[in-house]
Symmetry: C3
Subunit: 162 residues, 3 copies
């Protein structure tokens, strides 16, 4: 190879890594809009076919269970009253075809009786991704309430410690 | 063209798309700091000359009307008391010289009497951009309260459904 | 140099600037997870050895003082009860080997007695970075409460006005 070709290949690898970071940010930034509008297929489609969403209250496996959560009575009552699943800027680590993103999320709910809003919860999140057929998909999202439980702090620590 | 030139042109197009995404993120991330510090020209300058900011309470067209909102008594009373227009990570779709970003926003207000803070509202946002003379500008921002109204959910859904 | 080499060098400079932006976002996005999990070394390691964290309540200089803040009784009581230091998307300006990022932050606290969450404060932040041995490090972070004080608005304005 010529020097120019070598440089070009190295540059293409750097561009690929930038694209991966922005792709992962794009996927994560769709979660809130999808879940607060009840777009259950868009929510579930973020995960692999048998991907897992492990929440404090239990574990959802695969598109059917994740869609069912979005379509469930409790979730529908949130979004009918007005809800915001806000997500902090994800901290992303990529290693070839797998990636981990760590971030906070915050659920804000509208209270129709009083017309006010309240922070219903803050949560620690770990998103594990795999590149499947050229597309990043969530294999496991683990979410734990930031209510003092050690598990939530461990999720955050795992994402940032060296 | 040689193979190297062809590769270089393809790589330059990928870099352009990454630059577009980060430029759009940079513009959107300026909104909160500008509006909470009363920098009315910086706020209005995000829009095209005749760009529209369509809010629940009415529609503002062009720099003069958008600046007037920032300089208005209600907005000034917010920022004098302490306000935070926080924005969720935008979900961006680019198609050549136009782009759409979808995100939540949250208004947190300081209450001087009690020294406390409260979430005053959460909002669904759709930002439509055009590239004008090589610069991304907002042509239309539509914001609707997440208080249960269907319009707000429709804004979020439009940004993420396939 | 050939035309191809000239193009390649220009493209590499654009890629470097994209990498810088994403590196800075990656660093800032680690702050919340690190501080809410008590990872004091990860927090302090964001700063240069003698970097400064200038908060309303005083100024911390260097890794030892920043670590001590994370390990302090007040901070530990926050995280033991459940806390979220959420950060808005940073607005980044890079100039060679220095950079400035401007953003909001929000502290949400869990109240164990009631099981509720409240926004304890919103803050204006200016992060000044320098590239040291090829790595971006915080030289100065200035944070001021958005409680109406002019200083906080000045921080936000400085980051976005032209």
């Amino acid at each position: 190879m010529t020097d120019t070709e070598t440089l070009l290949i190295a540059l293409a690898a750097r561009v690929q890594l930038l694209e991966d970071q922005l792709d992962l940010m794009r996927i994560i930034s769709a979660y809130g809009p999808a879940v607060d509008s009840g777009e259950s297929a868009a929510v579930a489609g973020m995960w692999t076919e048998d991907g897992v969403y492990d929440v404090d209250t239990g574990s959802l496996r695969g598109h059917v269970e994740i869609e069912a959560m979005v379509l469930s009575k409790p979730h529908q009552s949130y979004i009918q009253a007005g809800s915001g699943h806000l997500i902090g800027p994800p901290h992303i680590e990529i290693d070839g075809d797998i990636a981990v993103a760590t971030c906070h999320s915050q659920l804000v709910l509208h209270e129709p009786e009083t017309g006010t809003y309240r922070v219903a919860r803050i949560t620690a999140n770990r998103w594990e991704f795999a590149r499947v057929d050229g597309q990043w998909k969530v294999t496991l999202r683990t979410s734990r309430l930031l209510d003092g439980r050690a598990e939530a702090r461990e999720i955050l620590a795992a994402g940032v410690k060296n």
